[in-house]
């Protein structure tokens, strides 16, 4: 390979070689002047001037000249030219972005060390002029190092990284990489994706397209399938016995992979203390369940953990919940006197059946609770009964405005007076008979509304199977506070809502028994009634466990109530000084203005005012996203094709081979080789040699001078 110079003009400095030559010719070695009686004879000698122009120390001169030459050539930045590189289509320096998957599935076996090695390998290829970025992604993405000129920072940052508790989502990471590439002014781009490439994290269209010519490489760290045991979920069945509540946990365990059934021990811990353990046999690539003995939940914020022995993928081997004694929703049912309780049968039975916090049912007949009783009710259901007028009606309206929930099931008798039409959505009309045995069916459901949200996903509830033979005509004008939640397939309104003050009023235009409709006989009836009443009560369902990646606003009373922290929500939201202890032992300041707690670790977060060590801290359980346990890989090329990149090391390189790119490439080659360092080292060595030589010659000269004087 021939030599080339990056800055040939620096060779002009070779003229400096003349300096030591002139010095050797003009300057004699410095010696102390020898006193002499008279120089009258010396001045006459023509020899002295000739002698001064002679070079006596050729070796010294050569060393000095060579040292100068090396320094000058070093400044000219020499390098060995590799024509194949210069002639290649590769442009100048590369903007290289490495996407590192840090979802919790990367903790399996040796995936993470392998991923780190892959990242280091990707950065080891970086040239001196390249810029490198390291983006870690799971459900979100974060640029650990962005467009850094050297990989040293990345290597340092890599040591601090480890798999998190969040699931894989390729979109955020790819989007951030796209942003980095678009912001770059370099000629070529390269993206390296290091992941186990779970299909769960890929939606198929992330809306990311890399700049043209971006070379995309992938490094998969999931070479073989795992025999993974995972706790897919834990459900709780509540049973109230007097003042106490008994909870029966049931766990579902899924096994992916394996060839033979294995027996594992499932343990149950309450507040960190193991209370039960049950053996269970896991079939290959199958699932099984285990039901523990009921446990009594006597205290709030009881931390419940179900676990199986750790395997190659540990994060999904535990499941955390926080239990508190349930708070039943007090529901008063007022039915038409003529219907008796038979018309309430399905409704009452549905409300009585509850595996969770449940409902406490009050009311017999058509009576409306007095004022004191009304304050203890969350929901009043007027089942086929007119809205009372006079004092009772006014009391109910006042109660609704203060936060009560009123459900009016129209039936035959459902109506309200003109004085109270302001609290009801729309106006009820006469009974309409649906023609034929086919009846009407619910069609237009607002699945974004909390009442129907649980039925949004497929196979989560089939309202279309329920037939409605009769219903009241119902005219509703939707507005800011009025909303139609369900319609029949003829477009008429089935369920409407009106917000009144802090309360809610819902009107169901049919009945909730089996006379006008067979909805009560359908599986969706029970969850529908539960959801309807629960929504009307204004209480959000309590969440025993969050999924990693969610955010809890501790300053939001509703959110805190959903988290089971309703009773402390007021104290916590009122406090401006809060602190959260993370499952990994860290702490996060949740002072005013920073009330959002990112639940990004699996385990129990504890929230408390700073400096206080409560006996039973307020806890929030967080579990990893179980979908991440599905380790089915995707084809990395699918991802590469989707983002528009070229595959593999031979791909890409469509950057124009401009003179600027060539210049940058030459500079890149020079910086890679850094021959100037060796030249400067050589020059330094020569200068040391020059010093030694000069001292030696100086001593020799002085010695000779003394000898000459002595002998003369």
């Amino acid at each position: 390979m021939p030599f080339s110079l990056l800055i040939p003009a620096a060779l002009a400095g070779l003229a400096a070689i003349a300096i030591p030559i002139v010095v050797h010719l003009r300057r004699r070695p410095r010696s102390k002047a020898v006193p002499f009686p008279s120089t009258m004879f010396l001045e006459r000698s023509p020899i002295k001037s000739e002698q001064r122009r002679r070079i006596h120390y050729w070796a010294l001169l050569s060393v000095r000249a060579l040292a100068i030459m090396l320094v000058v050539v070093a400044f000219a930045r020499p390098f060995l030219t590799d024509d194949s590189i210069l002639a290649s289509g590769v442009g100048g320096p590369t903007e290289r972005v490495v996407l590192l998957d840090r979802s919790w599935s990367m903790a399996a076996e040796d995936r993470w060390p392998e991923a780190v090695r892959a990242v280091e390998g990707a950065f080891a290829e970086a040239g001196p002029l390249d810029r490198v970025s390291l983006v870690v992604f799971d459900q979100g993405a974060e640029a650990v190092v962005r467009s850094a000129p050297d990989a040293a920072r990345i290597r340092a940052a890599l040591d601090t990284l480890e798999p998190g508790a969040l699931a894989t989502r390729y979109g955020p990471g790819l989007k951030l990489a796209q942003t980095i590439l678009e912001d770059s002014d370099l000629a070529t781009y390269e993206v390296v994706v290091v992941s186990d490439f779970q299909r769960n994290g890929w939606s198929g269209d992330e809306g990311v397209t890399f700049p043209e010519g971006t070379r995309v490489r992938t490094a998969s760290v999931a070479p073989r399938p795992l025999d993974n045991h995972a706790l897919a979920g834990v459900s709780l069945s509540r049973e109230r016995l007097g003042d106490r509540e008994r909870v029966t946990p049931a766990a579902r365990i899924v096994r992916s992979g394996g060839e033979e059934p294995v027996e594992v021990m499932v343990t149950l811990e309450l507040d960190g203390r193991q209370v039960q353990s049950l053996p269970v046999t896991l079939p290959p690539t199958g699932a099984t369940g285990v039901v523990f003995e009921p446990v009594t939940v006597a205290q709030r914020h009881t931390q419940l953990t179900v676990g199986i022995p750790g395997d190659a993928l540990a994060p999904d081997d535990v499941y955390h919940l926080v239990l508190s004694p349930g708070r039943a929703t007090a529901v008063h049912i007022a039915a038409a006197a003529a219907r008796g309780t038979s018309g309430d049968l399905y409704l009452r039975r549905a409300l009585e059946i509850s595996e969770e916090q449940g409902f406490q049912i009050f009311g017999r007949g058509s009576g409306i609770p007095d004022e004191s009783a009304l304050q203890e009710r969350q929901v009043v259901i007027l089942n086929d009964r007119p809205f009372p007028g006079g004092v009772e009606g006014e009391r109910l309206r006042q109660w609704v405005q203060e936060g009560g929930g009123l459900v009016l099931v129209a039936g035959d008798r459902g109506r309200w007076g003109e004085d109270f039409s302001g609290i009801f959505p729309g106006a009820l009309g006469p009974v309409l008979d649906r023609e034929g045995a086919r009846g009407e069916r619910l069609a237009g459901l607002d699945f974004d509304h909390p009442v129907f949200a649980p039925f949004r996903d497929p196979r989560q509830g089939d309202f279309a199977s329920a037939r409605f033979f009769r219903a009241r005509s119902y005219q509703v004008e939707e507005g800011d506070s009025v909303q139609v939640l369900a319609r029949f397939d003829d477009g008429s309104v089935a369920l409407a809502e009106r917000r009144v003050g802090h309360g809610r009023v819902l009107v169901w235009s049919s009945t909730l028994d089996a006379f006008w409709t067979d909805l009560a006989l359908k599986p969706v009836y029970l969850p529908f009634v539960h959801g309807l009443v629960q929504y009307a009560s204004g209480r959000n369902p309590t969440v025993e466990g969050f999924t990693a990646g969610q955010v809890l606003d501790v300053a939001d009373a509703d959110a805190m109530e959903s988290a089971g922290l309703g009773e402390v929500a007021e104290a916590l939201t009122a406090s401006e000084e809060r602190v959260a202890l993370t499952p990994e032992g860290g702490s996060r300041d949740l002072a005013a203005g920073r009330s959002f707690l990112a639940l990004d670790q699996a385990g129990f977060f504890q929230i408390r005012p700073p400096g206080q060590d409560e006996v039973r801290p307020v806890a929030v359980a967080v579990n990893v996203d179980r979908r991440e346990a599905e380790l089915d890989p995707m084809d990395p090329e699918e991802l590469v094709a989707a983002v528009g990149g070229a595959v593999g090391p031979g791909g890409g390189g469509t950057a124009v081979q401009t003179a600027e790119a060539l210049r940058l490439r030459r500079e890149d080659q020079e910086r890679r080789q850094s021959l100037w360092r060796y030249l400067l080292l050589g020059a330094l060595g020569l200068l040391v040699l020059e010093t030694m030589l000069s001292n030696r010659l100086g001593r020799k000269g002085r010695k000779r001078g003394r000898h000459a004087r002595a002998t003369s």
């Binding site: 009686p37 020899i47 004087r709 003369s712």
Partner: protein
């Protein structure tokens, strides 16, 4: 080293070796020691006295000047005796000593040219005083530094002056000798001790002033061995001790030419002095002092005979 060996092997030279003499602080003691030792070494030499006052008879030994045989005594005793006379002259003997800076040079740090000249002058003055001469001393560089007029009582003063002279200033022969010539009204023997680093014409012009007054001029031309050989090796920078001029040279290359120039200079001075009826004695400071004294006595004897 060869010079040192030559000095140490010369018979009877240890007292007259300048290196040995340099250890004697008292210049009078030094002069007396040298002169007496020197004279003892010449015990059969015929150069004892130059005056006409009879001192004693001594048995004739071969080599004595037959002119000093006492024929009358031979007639009476039939034995040969020679007459010895007390040296008794009334000549003025004045030493003109160059104390310019160049005289401070000495390749042997113990014996500079000035030291050598000081020993020589002291000895000659002491010897002359023993001959009943009036002795005087003039030291000069650019001009006269010290002037001790010739007198029979000024030996101590002259020696004391000699003891404290220092070579520090540049020298100029002509104005100094012109001044001395004007001060030395009575004719006498004038010793000029210098290294004569001036052009021969200028030196002779200055000496001619003394000679023109009728003085018997004896020129002691002092040179250090290094001055004749040029020290140094490949590259040496010489500094003129009087002008301060710095001359970088390569002695190895210059030595032969330099030596030739110095020899020519000495030869020229010798020839010109001889032509002007002045005695020129070239003295090497590495040589024993008796050589210089012997030269002096020879010249005195010759002058006495010729008188």
């Amino acid at each position: 080293m060869t010079h040192a060996r030559a000095r140490s092997t010369a018979p009877g030279a240890q007292f007259l070796d300048p290196r040995v003499l340099a250890r004697i602080d008292n210049l009078e003691l030094l002069a007396r020691t040298v002169v007496n030792g020197f004279l003892n070494g010449l015990h059969r030499a015929p150069h004892l006295g130059l005056s006409m006052d009879f001192a004693e008879h001594r048995a004739y030994v071969p080599g004595d000047d037959v002119r000093h045989l006492d024929w009358k005594l031979f007639a009476r005793s039939d034995r040969h005796f020679v007459k010895q006379y007390e040296a008794e002259t009334n000549a003025n003997v004045v030493a003109l000593l160059d104390v310019s800076a160049s005289m401070g040079f000495g390749s042997d740090p113990h014996v500079t040219k000035l030291d050598y000249a000081r020993f020589l002058t002291a000895c000659i003055l002491h010897f002359s005083r023993g001959q009943r001469d009036r002795v005087g001393l003039v030291t000069f560089d650019e001009g006269i530094v010290d002037f001790v007029p010739p007198s029979a009582r000024n030996l101590e003063l002259a020696l004391h002056t000699l003891a404290r002279v220092q070579a520090s200033e540049p020298g100029a022969l002509r104005p100094s000798l012109l001044d001395a010539t004007e001060r030395l009204a009575r004719r006498g023997i004038v010793l000029v001790v210098s290294d004569f680093y001036e052009e021969p014409d200028e030196v002779l012009e200055a000496l001619r002033l003394l000679r023109g007054r009728g003085h018997d001029v004896i020129v002691f031309h002092l040179l250090d061995p290094a001055e004749r050989e040029l020290p140094g090796g490949e590259s040496t920078t010489f500094e003129d001790m009087e002008s301060g001029e710095v001359v970088p040279v390569v002695p190895n290359r210059l030595r032969s030419a330099y030596r030739e120039m110095v020899e020519n200079h000495v030869e020229t001075l010798l020839e010109r002095c001889t032509a002007e009826r002045m005695d020129h004695v070239l003295l090497d400071t590495s040589q024993p002092l008796d050589h210089a004294l012997f030269k002096y006595l020879t010249i005195r004897e010759r002058k006495a005979r010729s008188r």
